[in-house]
């Protein structure tokens, strides 16, 4: 039995532990984040948010899959299919710009949601936790940017 290890984490924290954004947080820090989360359940085909909505929250997938769709004038095309542990709507944490794409449940899914204002208050009350999350978020956005660049390069070659 370990006294200070992650084995001691309550079962309620396990869904959050698998989310990449919070992978660097300690059990105690994860407990603070756990106090801020909202849980929602969506059925396959249900819209989580629309392209053009005012972004107020960031979503993370606990169970199921979510597809990200974008309509550039015509019919919507899929940008990504996200699996458990992944986050979306993350730009809402940085600014209140309209959502760049639509998020729709691909299968029945369970999501955890963090409200922008709660994250902003976390910056004041728990700057260490907020900075860890911000670093993970920056890495996540960097990865997305690299993927987008690689995609654009491939399309250029084609």
């Amino acid at each position: 039995m370990r006294f200070f290890g992650r084995d001691d984490e309550p079962a309620a924290l396990q869904p959050l532990r698998q989310i990449k954004l919070f992978s660097s947080l300690s059990a105690r820090e994860l407990k603070v984040v756990h106090g801020l989360r909202h849980e929602r359940q969506y059925l396959a085909g249900e819209i989580v948010f629309d392209q053009g909505d005012e972004g107020q929250a960031i979503y993370a997938i606990v169970e199921g899959e979510v597809e990200i769709l974008r309509a550039d004038g015509g019919s919507p095309h899929r940008l990504a299919l996200l699996a458990p542990g992944e986050v979306f709507g993350e730009l809402a944490l940085l600014d209140q710009a309209p959502r760049a794409a639509q998020a729709r449940a691909h299968s029945d899914c369970r999501l955890v949601v963090f409200f922008r204002a709660d994250f902003m208050s976390l910056l004041e009350t728990h700057p260490k936790i907020a900075s860890k999350i911000a670093l993970s978020l920056a890495r996540h956005l960097g990865g997305r940017l690299r993927q987008a660049n690689a995609g654009a390069r491939q399309e250029g070659h084609l």
């Binding site: 603070v32 106090g35 801020l36 909202h38 849980e39 929602r40 969506y42 059925l43 396959a44 085909g45 249900e46 819209i47 989580v48 948010f49 629309d50 392209q51 053009g52 909505d53 005012e54 107020q56 929250a57 309509a71 919507p76 639509q102 949601v113 409200f115 204002a117 004041e124 009350t125 728990h126």
Partner: protein
């Protein structure tokens, strides 16, 4: 997918907001035993919120921070009460005498002022204004003591237990406020969820800005009045400043009552020189102006973002509908109803959100009837 951008709340929504505020004040008037402790609980909550946040910042959990802060505040209050109790027991009779002495001093000043005016005005002299006012006040005083005072005292005694609710409410707001917010958000359908979260945040922000602004305004008012009264030479300037600043929580009536208290004290402390009482009135008017044009916009006004015409109109409506309680409650109630009404009207008028909600309901129905054939 066609997305219509929602516009702001229209005139119909605003009529609804004003009507809902008036209706709420009318209902609250009949539930004052609960509404006033709730209001004082909210004031205590927003007063204690910053220290709780500092403790959370220092690494305590929300629950531990609330326990420590409310515990420390309760110990402080009990200590103050314990220190004051022997003094109050020893001076209970003299406090009553002092009150009567100040009342007599104020009435004497009024009588002197009216008689001085009678010497200047033939019309007032012919009408015997000073005698008429004195006899009216004497009759009203006797009638008050005989008919109203026992009922008033009984009312205060019956209300005291309900005021004990206020600290309990403040404690649970501090400890479980966020949990309650999550509980409310959970009841909302997915389509309206983000907007509801935003609405709850805005209601909290508005109420916090109002009550914290009120606390700052009270401190500023009390200090300014105390300094002015100290300069004039009145006794207990800080106590008088604090009493008048707290009375000013009730728009108009509170200010007039506060001014009357200060004038009574000035007239009693300096019976031969009415100039001191007039200086106190001047100081009071100056602080009110400072309050309305400098302090209020810096504290409460900035937070509520209300049009001044709406504010003044609703203060009159609040007074007409629910009396003094209406005057006290109208601004915070209007602030909260305004945020709820504006957001609800925008959400209800958004066809895309309604369509998404209808779609989600259809999906749920399909999901639960799939095996029914």
């Amino acid at each position: 997918m066609r997305r219509l951008q929602p516009s702001g709340a229209g005139p119909l929504a605003w009529c609804g907001i004003l009507l809902a505020t008036t209706l709420a004040l009318f209902l609250f008037q009949h539930l004052l035993w609960l509404v006033l402790p709730f209001l004082f609980g909210l004031i205590a909550y927003y007063f204690l919120y910053p220290p709780v946040q500092r403790l959370v910042f220092a690494g305590f959990s929300q629950e531990a921070a609330a326990n420590i802060t409310v515990g420390a505040f309760a110990v402080l209050l009990i200590a103050c009460f314990a220190l004051m109790l022997p003094w109050f027991a020893a001076h209970a009779v003299s406090v009553q005498d002092t009150g009567q002495r100040y009342l007599q001093g104020g009435l004497a000043l009024l009588d002197e002022t009216l008689r001085a005016l009678e010497t200047q005005s033939r019309f007032m002299r012919d009408a015997h204004v000073a005698d008429a006012v004195s006899s009216h006040i004497a009759a009203a005083g006797e009638g008050f003591a005989q008919e109203r005072l026992p009922g008033l005292m009984m009312g205060v005694a019956a209300w005291l237990p309900s005021f004990l609710l206020a600290p309990f409410l403040a404690y649970f707001f501090l400890r479980d406020g966020r949990r309650f917010q999550r509980f409310l958000a959970r009841a909302m359908p997915n389509a309206y969820f983000e907007r509801t979260l935003h609405l709850l945040y805005e209601v909290d922000r508005t109420a916090r800005a109002y009550f914290q602004g009120l606390i700052k305004l009270t401190v500023l008012d009390a200090l300014c009045l105390a300094f002015g009264l100290w300069l004039i030479g009145l006794s207990s300037p800080l106590m008088l400043g604090l009493i008048t600043a707290v009375l000013a929580w009730v728009p108009y009536v509170g200010s007039i009552l506060g001014c009357a208290v200060v004038v009574m004290v000035a007239a009693t402390d300096f019976p031969g020189s009415p100039g001191v009482a007039y200086a106190a009135v001047g100081l009071f008017v100056f602080v009110r102006l400072l309050d309305d044009f400098v302090f209020m916009p810096l504290t409460i006004g900035r937070s509520l973002k209300m049009h001044p015409l709406v504010t003044v109109l609703m203060i009159f409506v609040g007074g007409a509908v629910a009396g003094v309680a209406g005057l006290l409650l109208v601004l915070p109630v209007l602030g909260v109803v305004m945020v709820i009404g504006e957001t609800a009207s925008i959400v209800a008028a958004d066809p895309r959100l309604r369509a998404r909600h209808a779609h989600a309901r259809q999906l749920r129905l399909q999901s639960v009837t799939r095996d029914l054939g």
